[in-house]
């Protein structure tokens, strides 16, 4: 659905900026949360984007490198108002973490010297580790359940290369991306032949 006629471009940009600013300030817990909130706002509440198109936009946000929250804001901004929409959405999404972490950064030295904070951060290290391992477990078991040998080999080989041989993560990403691209092209090629 196209934006309603009474919405001038300026209104859309304003709404875009304040929505992403608000969502970015109050969403804890990762990019997927903000993407579902963007959907709530622009699909269910404002009806500026329809449901299926939003799903494709989310796929684009996921297919691109970078933070999902920022990518989601960019793609919604692009859809609603083109290039200026992208700028407004990014500004809204990035401003809150920029301000908050700047404040944290300036207090960090004093912060670190504090007995309670020091103990707190020390204890939390084990907790962060647990959160990460738990994420790995969830993501890893979906790879294992796919029963796709190539994906399992990629997972094992990437871990070995990264952990034991310190191979730069960028090379691992480039190589696996190439494998995925070649595989898809090969599959489609074969499907066309058999069809």
């Amino acid at each position: 659905m196209e934006p309603k006629k009474e919405n001038t471009k300026k209104d859309i940009l304003k709404k875009l900026f304040f929505s992403t600013l608000y969502l970015s300030t109050f969403t804890f817990g990762g990019g997927y949360v903000i993407v579902s909130l963007l959907k709530n706002k622009f699909v269910d509440e404002l009806h500026w984007i329809d449901e299926t198109e939003m799903m494709d936009l989310v796929a684009i946000a996921q297919s691109s490198p970078g933070a999902i929250a920022v990518n989601g804001a960019i793609v919604v901004g692009y859809k609603l108002a083109g290039f200026s929409g992208v700028l407004c959405a990014i500004l809204g999404a990035v401003l809150p973490p920029l301000i908050i972490l700047t404040l944290v950064s300036y207090c960090y030295a004093a912060f670190r010297a504090n007995f309670v904070i020091q103990a707190m951060l020390k204890g939390m290290r084990a907790g962060v580790g647990a959160v990460i391992i738990s994420v790995v477990y969830d993501m890893g078991s979906s790879v294992v359940k796919s029963k796709d040998i190539l994906l399992l080999v990629i997972m094992a080989a990437s871990f070995l290369a990264n952990y034991f041989f310190n191979v730069n993560v960028i090379y691992i990403i480039l190589l696996t991306a190439a494998i995925g691209a070649v595989r898809t092209i090969y599959r489609e090629h074969r499907r066309e032949k058999t069809a």
Binding site: S24, F28, G29, Y32, D56, I60, S63, P65, G66, A67, I68, V70, N71, I74, Y78, F83, V86, V94, P97, L98, I100, L101, V104, Y106, Y108, F115, V116, M120, K122, G123, M124, R125, A126, G127, V128, G129, A130, V131, I133, S134, V135, M139, V143, L151, I154, M155, S158, N162, V169, I172, I173, T176, A177, I179, G180, A181, R183, T184, R187, E188
Partner: protein, 191 residues
């Protein structure tokens, strides 16, 4: 001057190669910020990840702002953040344009399918890199007295239980681990 260029380029790489969002950026940030440029120690890096979990915003943007500020003040923070989001802007806009034109992303989806296991492996590596120095003071596996730390292992086990069995909010779980250590250290100090 050189440091601004380094900050920008380091975070440009982080932005360009972190597929899969959130935790996927973590090993890349570690590679640039800890291993290559030594802007943060592993302890500072772990603290940064902890702080990122408790504040809004993506880990990569938080890291860019924090490291930029520590190394080169506000201009550093702005440049690092800009480097971090620039690849997103280009990629997402290009894909959105292609999508509106062709509506077919099958090669991209094939690429993502095979990237996922690699991303899992890299997140696992980052997790181990955070846990090992927490469990063993020297950072290498050895059960000598004074090297092996029992309490972090207990916190870890407790946290896993809360996360997996009771599906508790990760931030709450982390804070509970922190509170446990504060109580322990206060007890040792004041009793």
């Amino acid at each position: 001057m050189a440091v601004y260029v380094e900050l920008f380029l380091a975070f440009l790489q982080i932005g360009a190669f972190s597929f899969g969002g959130g935790y996927a950026a973590m090993p890349l940030i570690q590679a640039q910020v800890v291993n290559q440029y030594h802007w943060l120690s592993m302890t500072d890096f772990t603290d940064l990840i902890t702080i990122s979990q408790m504040t809004p915003g993506p880990i990569a943007i938080n890291a860019a702002t924090f490291v930029g500020n520590q190394i080169a003040g506000i201009p550093g923070a702005l440049l690092a953040t800009l480097g971090c989001i620039l690849p997103s802007c280009i990629f997402v806009t290009a894909l959105a344009w292609i999508y509106t034109k062709y509506r077919n992303l099958s090669v991209m989806q094939g690429v993502l399918e095979s990237l996922r296991p690699a991303v899992v492996a890299m997140i696992a590596t980052a997790g181990v890199a955070i846990l090992l120095p927490a469990f063993f003071l020297s950072g290498s596996v050895s059960f000598r007295a004074g090297n092996f730390q029992l309490r972090p292992v207990l916190y870890f086990a407790g946290a896993m239980l809360l996360l997996r069995k009771w599906k508790m909010d990760p931030v709450v779980v982390m804070v509970l681990c922190g509170v446990a250590e504060v109580l322990y250290q206060s007890a040792v100090k004041f009793l």
